[in-house]
Amino acid sequence: MSFESLQFEKFSRDRLEQLQLERLQATLNRAYRSVAFYQKAFDEMGIIPEDIDSLSKLSKLPFTSRQTLVDNYPYGMFAVPLREVVRLHCTTGPKGQPIVIGYTKNDIDHWAQISARVLKAAGVEKEDVVQICLDYGLFGEGLGFHYGAELIGASVIPGSDGDPKRQLLIMRDYRSTILLSNPSFALKLLAAMKESKIGLASLQLRGIIFTGEPFSEETRVRVEEELQVKVINSYSPLELPGPKVATECEKRCGLHIFEDQFIPEIVNPQTGEVLPPGEEGELVITTVAKEAFPLIRYRTGDLTSLDFSPCECGRNLIRMQNPKGRTDDMIVVNGVGFFPAQIRQILVQIEGAEPNFRLIIDREGTQDVVELMVEVSESIFFDEMKKFHELKENIEEAIHQTLGINVRVKLVEKRSLSTAEKPVIDKRFK
């Protein structure tokens, strides 16, 4: 596998735009030819791919969103027959519905290259020992970075995202120099360090790459100070498996978007209108190098702005600010994203529980904690304690099973939660 895509980072704007236009047109031609959804959407708007004769005309095309991916589940958005797909990863839609994304051999190669570029931007060299504490399963973020680190020639530890104590021992014994993890996992490691009395002196760690969830600058500073490392952030749309869309460089002044792979736009989240350069709005991305699963004008739901000024690092790629918030109500707890509507869905299936709830999210030490107040039907509330506990455990179990998060359930009387208030109270980052 070659590593030719690194050269694009130094391309002049003019040259990069030529490449983007060529790739965009090829992507549109393929998507229109092979994906019924795009053909229908373009036809309804009276557009053919040939009409897109400049990058700015991209704004004439219809949007896609997470809901589009849900509606076309499982294979409706695939632009190649399944026999050309070498990998499938999956994730969930806004209400927990399944989404599946396919990759051809070239898509996997690109993913590895982009991961390698993220690692390069963070200063990873082939001498490094890279410990990857990310999901290696259905979501597969660990796999992407794994291939990237191998492409650089580093020594890779596929640590996966379980048991921070064990990861810490591995980190000490194998002399890991680079860690890839969610911010919340890094905080768990800090806690494990205190508990196990493994001191900083016994670690060789010099850098961490954060991915997967938003975090506050305080978290970054804290991890950097306590571990004496440099933290580099990377970005991809939440809960969308696949290559990173952007990464910080050593200057850490925004995230460079891999423009040879993705074309970014910033739109008004209400009207969908493209905003002038520099303004804050919703990030919309179009993939220009994906074969199996091209995404055209995908609404990420992340609020950010773009910076077109040159960066001292020498990369000519546009930078985006670390997303400041979301356009929808997705919540990310300890690296796991979900929607309040999913909780409602779970509650209606449990006998004795009412779908009215309140979610209180806070941070205790290194961990996000979630308290879930659930109204119960009168018949249960005044019944015996054993049943009461059973119900509480049932709900906790059901939520853990479905969403993968731990919540503390507090049962309250029916109609005691005001429906006028927001169902979610997030006390973190405040």
């Binding site: 060529e22 047109q25 791919p49 040939e50 027959p81 051999k105």
Partner: protein, 246 residues
Amino acid sequence: MLRIRNLRGFYGNLQALKGVSLHVEKGEIVTLIGANGSGKSTLLNSISGIVSSKKGEILFEGKDITDFPPQRIVKEGISLVPEGRQLFSSLSVMDNLLLGAYQRFSIKKKAEIEGDLERVFRIFPVLKERKKQIAGTLSGGEQQMLAIARSLMSRPKLLLLDEPSMGLAPKIVQEIFEVILTLRKEGTTIFLVEQNAQKALEIADRGYVIETGKIVFEGVSEELLGNKEIIRAYLGKGYKKKIWEK
């Protein structure tokens, strides 16, 4: 070096190119592969000015050459080796070569042109042996070599090759492709249109795949060779049965 944006080419009422964008950098070998009638030759003929009914933008070394006539385009440094060679078959090899230098022909340039003849004879020794032979009596492979040599006589910076392997035996094809590599080494940039996708991608740095006048894939050759759709459609490894369609 060459940059094309949204090129639309027409044959009468027929639109053969539907908004093609591509580029060739100095020193590269870039190939365009596609089936018969997909628009490959129209694209080359548009670049070289033979197809005049076109829209879009063709930039060569930053200069807009979209509306230049063919002779002006040759002067700018682009030379086409047309499909089917198009030699002056009743003339001698030597005359064909001299005609290739026609646009800069003058007494003053005699020494320069003789130097260029030396060069093409070095690349194609067989043409030197046969310089007095009538072009139409050469073998297919020799004719193709002559066609390339004739193009080189205009000292192109960018050489456009239209199906140089067509109708030739595999051994001869190999020779022609080796010549293409030599030319690149000597500083000529190559844009190669081929139906023999395998061979073309083996020597090219990058490639584009054209389908009914539209580019559907682009990438480095390695990537295109790894694309199963391209393998099936253009590299002739047809699947005998459908295993599982979506």
